[in-house]
Symmetry: C2
Subunit: 106 residues, 2 copies
């Protein structure tokens, strides 16, 4: 494996890792219907304001979302909408897992 390939793998992993957290995944899914400010997330997520803010920072640094400050609030929106489309494949894995589970149970 070349150094370049390694870099590319690490970059892709970073994007996946950003999505690989229940709260971050949920927030990403929420953004499908349009931008939201941090406070809107905080209301629904039962987590500290700082925690939500940090999660959004992770998504931002991965390049999945972008933010814009308007007045006192910071609004986040999807930067690369396809992340939601590819989630359908993750669902497919879940369905496959459920089938395996069902098969085991007879």
């Amino acid at each position: 494996m070349t150094a370049k390939e390694k870099k590319r793998l690490e970059a892709k992993s970073k994007v996946l890792k950003a999505l690989a957290h229940p709260t971050r995944l949920w927030m990403t899914e929420q953004l499908e219907s349009g931008e939201k400010c941090v406070c809107e997330f905080v209301e629904e997520v039962d987590a500290d304001f700082s925690t939500v803010s940090k999660h959004l920072t992770v998504l931002k640094q991965a390049g999945i979302v972008e933010d814009e400050k308007r007045g006192k609030q910071v609004y986040y929106r999807l930067k690369v909408p396809c992340v939601l489309k590819f989630m359908s494949c993750v669902e497919e894995v879940l369905i496959s897992n459920a089938k395996s589970q069902a098969a085991l149970l007879g």
Copy 2:
């Protein structure tokens, strides 16, 4: 958020988390061209045999790959091939990131 939705988010996160590691991502990509046994991965991955085996276990438990023992070897193959197709979206994020980077540099 209902308990059911929470479960679903956690399940999806587990799948994403399994892919969110350079070595596991690489191994998953390698399986695109067909099954491989653990020893083949070990030769190319500069990591301990046990480490590679554990990574494969993570992918297996997430439902991304399945294994089959034949003789002394254990062969792994993709169980849900779409995981590679959705990787094209992750690439799209990388391209988007590169563009942002380029824009910053003027």
